[in-house]
Amino acid sequence: MEKNMAQEATDTTNQEPKKSFRQRFLKPLVIPVLSIVTSLIVVAIIIIFTAESLAVGFEKVGKGYWGIIDGALLRSSGLINTLVATTPLILTSLAVAIPFHAGLFNIGAEGQFMMGALCGALVGIYVDLPPVIHPIVVIMAGVAGGMLWGFIPGLLKAWLHSHEVINTIMLNFIAISLANMLVRNYFKDPNPSTVQTLPLQATAELARITGRLHWGFFIAVAMAAVAWFFLYKTTWGFSLRTTGQNPDAADYAGIRFKRWYIYSFVIAGGLAAMAGTIEVQGLTRVLPVGFDSGYGFDAIAVSLLAANNPLAIIPASLIFGALRIGGDFLQIRAGLSVHIVSIFRALILLFVAAPEIVRAIYRIKAKVGEEAEVVPPTRWG
């Protein structure tokens, strides 16, 4: 029953006239690209006006922006670092995007990331397995931990109608503190100079391709493709998206929308956790205290920049990865604070989420149906 209804609905959507290349691929790019350009301009204005003089300000902007491009993208070492930073961003952004399609906000990617890192690291350190099987088991263990962490807010949402934003934010604190507490008190490397776990067994590591770049990058890209296929080409994905667009209609069509609330969070938890596990296996190869570095929060901005499209998340993550690495060059080359990158992040999020601002600035007319509707907020209570 559920399948038939869903199948019928998919057929009707396929009967729409085919869109041209321009409409399909170029039009959706207008707002994100203009958002990034506008943010760059606004930040440049801020830098110029806070500098000692106009000339110094312009020099700082030029040096800083060139530093980001040169340092994060053009040099091979910088490009490798950018790709390394992109890897967890792709996966955590997918973890934000998939619940978004189900109409839910996942602010808890950071906590799910930590649970994945914790569970994966423990299996990688204390379980003995042969070489090829070990990394796979480690990833599976991490993903299982993250799924469990995603299951909690999903269940609370479906069962008790408690607001997922509050629950995921709170579970972030719990996961981060739990991981830090366990590492500090129970799994600490006996060497007194370091506060971290023992190193992962050699069999559990993900191989590196060149420099710090490890195979996790390709796993992340593959997962983005899988997520795209899941969302747009399967009945499951259709059920999930219908749940997000209109839970009542989904219910009427026989889709058990409450289950999809839970499933979407479980999938998200698994993806964010995979990011954490891969980061431990490929990059750090130990789990230090304070492993969280804000990938789960950046993911919200990345996911919105990509309009929650899993494939668009790959280039969007690359931009944010480059900003992360480029922030250091902002400081080295132009003497600006690393945290200016956070202003970038805020502005990009602002312009992407309120396209009317961008349309007003560049005098772009919105087509009928493109105007934003008032989004009624869902209250916590």
Binding site: A353, V375, P377
Partner: protein, 186 residues
């Protein structure tokens, strides 16, 4: 640890004082959430509003040398961020959770580059240079509790302890009572 020593720690005078001092920013933040929520506004940008206000207060009181302008600046800065939240969600129809996130990101981005210009420099020397009677600036340190927003060594938790009779705290109690009355009469 046995239960007696635990209770001993919990009910020691210092602990209670520190608890009241630590609770002040939390409770004021909670009131921010309460007022938003009562009018149907989802506000996850409280953190960002507090950070910006703390920054503005620290700057204003450092440059003017008085607490009064610090409080005024904090009120204005917090109100400005709230106005941004309002414009984004009403005029530009942005989802309120996203605009709250924007405010948090923005506050992190604005505060941290500014902080090195403040504590540890000449301004902080002025901030820390108050006489024993005029302890108000320590309250701003309480709102600046984020460990990464101050260079190490400029803040010690003990600083806040003896300051439990800060006027803002009485404002807090008044707010609590006002809300209770409102709750019972509505």
């Amino acid at each position: 640890m046995d239960i007696q020593s635990l209770l001993g720690i919990l009910f020691a005078a210092g602990t209670l004082q520190l608890a009241v001092a630590t609770a002040t920013p939390i409770a004021l933040g909670a009131y921010a959430g309460l007022f938003s929520e009562r009018s149907g506004v989802v506000n996850i940008g409280i953190e960002g509003m507090m950070l910006t206000a703390a920054m503005a207060a620290a700057f204003a009181s450092a440059y003017t040398g008085t607490v009064f302008w610090g409080i005024i600046a904090a009120l204005l800065a917090g109100g400005l961020m709230a106005a941004l939240h309002a414009v984004l969600s009403i005029r530009f129809k942005m989802n309120q959770i996203i605009s709250g996130t924007v405010i948090n990101f923005l506050a992190w981005g604005i505060d941290r580059p500014l902080v090195p210009g403040l504590p540890g420099s000449a301004q902080l020397a002025r901030l820390g240079g108050y006489s024993a009677e005029d302890r108000y600036p320590t309250a701003f340190q309480a709102t600046l509790r984020r460990p990464d927003s101050l260079p190490t060594g400029t803040y010690r938790p003990g600083d806040v302890g003896p300051d439990s009779d800060h006027p803002l705290r009485y404002l807090l109690y008044t707010l609590g009572i006002a809300n209770e009355v409102d709750w019972r009469t509505s």
